[in-house]
């Protein structure tokens, strides 16, 4: 055998097409497994004693955690305020359905716009901060939006949250999709896939490479002549916009938007999902969200002190799994 490389040398020479297919599969094995599990979830989740609404909930949080991973894992800046854009997405969609028009798809758009614009506006005020100061400033700004949602009773329903809206079936003319049970799950999966696709594409683009440069060595990136602040802004804007999409899904899932969605504790939960799964790994946030949501679901049915368990989870992850579950496998250090 005289194959060009060791891996292809073991494959039969006569089947180049299937050889490349095998190579493709082995390179994308993780992604293939993830997509198969996600698409089949309505089938297997009940078999392991779970239920599909939990699957939808995991998708919603995983989508948002993936957005946050752009900042934490790929640009190397610590945002502790992502819940604000998540929550604004939820209110944007809820308010649209309640006051403007009963259209689910336009409501998603409204939520994404509200959260995305807010992130674009906050970005310039925080993009020059570094390290802990970036984290502090993001969390402080998130509280601004939290208090608007909590206190503007007339519009948002105040502390009790926004109710009185209902997700609507989607009518394509030839087909009508009711967003219940598995229907909603696949609706959420569609937007999750969209998000994953957008993030994967950007990571392969010059913009994604620039983020990586900032994460790896911001000084060097500046010395190349890059205006790093504005690339951090771009990362913040993209992450906020996608987080708002997650929030929009959350509102549609529950037919409810709560000021708690914007609270800084939720921001912390998103961060721990990303770290638990593995910062800077593509599927880490999904793994982290799945574990976190399942554990929270289980613990909150078991004990009133589940918040302590979440706190302990933070401590254990920091002390024992700083690279996260998928980060362990890869073994590349991440700051």
């Amino acid at each position: 055998m005289s194959g060009p490389s060791a891996s292809s040398a073991t494959l039969p020479r006569t089947a180049p097409a299937s050889a490349s297919r095998v190579a493709w599969l082995s390179r994308h094995r993780q992604s293939v497994i993830v997509w198969l599990l996600l698409i089949g979830a309505p089938l297997w989740m009940p078999l392991v004693g779970s239920y599909i609404q939990l699957g939808s909930q995991i998708l919603v949080f995983a989508l948002t955690a993936m957005a946050l991973n752009i900042l934490l894992g790929y640009t190397g800046v610590i945002s502790f305020g992502e819940a604000a854009y998540f929550g604004l997405g939820a209110y944007g969609s809820g308010l649209f359905l309640k006051y403007v028009m009963p259209s689910t798809l336009l409501a998603v758009l409204a939520g994404v716009l509200l959260g995305g614009i807010a992130a674009c506006l906050v970005g310039p005020l925080i993009m020059r901060r570094r390290g802990v100061y970036f984290a502090m400033t993001t969390i402080a700004f998130s509280q601004l939006f939290y208090f608007v949602a909590e206190r503007w009773n007339g519009l948002t329903g105040g502390e009790d949250g926004l109710t009185g809206f209902q997700r609507q079936p989607i009518d394509f003319g030839f087909a009508r999709i009711t967003l219940e049970g598995a229907g909603f799950y696949y609706f959420a999966l569609f937007f999750f896939a969209l998000t994953a696709g957008v993030i994967a594409a950007i990571l392969r683009s010059p913009l994604g490479h620039t983020w990586m440069a900032i994460r790896e060595n911001v000084r060097r990136a500046r010395y190349l002549g890059l205006r790093t602040d504005w690339y951090v802004w771009a990362a913040f804007a993209v992450a906020g916009t996608l987080a708002a999409l997650g929030g929009s899904m959350e509102a549609l899932l529950n037919n409810f938007a709560s000021p708690q969605d914007l609270f800084f504790i939720v921001s912390g939960n998103f961060v721990i999902m990303v770290v638990l799964g593995g910062m800077g790994t593509f599927w880490g946030p999904l793994v982290g969200a799945a574990i976190f949501i399942t554990a929270q679901d289980y613990l909150s049915s078991l004990t009133a002190n589940w918040q302590s368990f979440v706190g302990v989870l933070f401590v254990v992850v920091v002390l024992a799994f700083p690279r996260g579950i998928l980060g362990l496998r890869r073994g590349r250090k991440r700051a």
């Binding site: 802990v132 100061y133 700004f141 706190g311 920091v318 002390l319």
Partner: protein, 288 residues
């Protein structure tokens, strides 16, 4: 009169913010840690004071709580924060203290209950000092005095004692201080304890004013962040100034537009960041 009442209210709350911000800033500047658990420790301090008070009275609870919380900080730093100094970046200490914030709130809740508790203050402090200005109570004056003494003592410590000088030097250049043979681990532990001492003190005094409640720390920690950002990163006097400023601003707002009194703090922060990105008294190059 309503305005004056709200300003004086805001001033007192601003003093709590300032005390919290002062401790946070100390820890931030030397330990390089955003201590999310600061609010949780403050709450714990308030409850410790409450328990001590039930047996030995207010004047025992007042000094005991800060020392208990400060000691917790000293040991907590040793066993939990110190292993994280050598990790790159700041994320892990942030997450760790965040986890502790959740745990401490839950612990306070399971020991003392989710319901708010009243915190008795001595009658001598409880009465208004003036019939016209009914809101100037002995307790308010007491809070002003205690905070001023605490801040004054802190600045004296930092300026005139050997440890204080080392802490300040370490804030500028920890490596050099270490190279000079100072035990920076001990110094950082002590500083963490000092920061939490102030949190404990803020807890006792806030309890006397706002009552006890497991989430009281949550309500104070973020304004304390804002106080630091507004006052200026890297400036301890800035933390105090920022705290007072946003406290009074929230007080004034509550007179005219009550439902915006919480949000206004964050709006002020936005405005300050637009026009003075370094904050009011911030130094060049810190956090940028």
């Amino acid at each position: 009169m309503v305005l004056l009442f709200n300003i004086s209210n805001g001033l007192i709350v601003g003093l709590f913010y300032a005390l919290m911000a002062l401790g946070l800033a100390l820890i931030l500047m030397l330990n390089n840690v955003v201590n999310f658990a600061h609010g949780g420790f403050m709450t714990l301090g308030a409850y410790v004071a409450f328990t001590v008070e039930q047996h030995f009275g207010f004047w025992a609870g007042l000094p005991v709580a800060p020392f208990v919380i400060g000691a917790l900080g000293l040991f907590g730093e040793r066993w939990l924060i110190r292993p994280l100094y050598k990790r790159p970046g700041h994320l892990y200490s942030l997450l760790l203290t965040f986890g502790f914030a959740l745990i401490l709130e839950d612990v306070s809740r399971s020991i003392w209950g989710a319901q708010g508790l009243p915190f008795a203050i001595p009658d001598a402090l409880n009465s208004p000092l003036s019939d016209t200005y009914f809101f100037i109570t002995g307790y308010n004056v007491f809070v002003v005095i205690v905070t001023a003494v605490a801040a004054g003592a802190l600045f004296a410590l930092l300026r005139f004692t050997r440890i204080g000088v080392r802490i300040r030097a370490g804030m500028t250049d920890l490596e050099t201080v270490s190279a000079l043979g100072v035990n920076i681990y001990g110094l950082r532990a002590l500083n963490f304890g000092l920061g939490l001492f102030l949190a404990g003190l803020a807890g006792v005094m806030a309890a006397g004013r706002l009552g006890l409640d497991p989430t009281m720390g949550q309500g104070l920690i973020l304004p304390a962040f804002v106080a630091i950002i507004v006052g200026g990163l890297g400036s301890l006097p800035g933390a105090i100034l920022g705290g007072l400023l946003i406290g009074v601003a929230a007080g004034i707002t509550s007179t005219y537009f009550a439902s915006a009194s919480d949000a206004v703090i964050y709006l002020i922060m936005g405005v300050v960041l637009i026009f003075m990105p370094r904050g009011l008294l911030g130094e060049e190059g810190i956090g940028e």
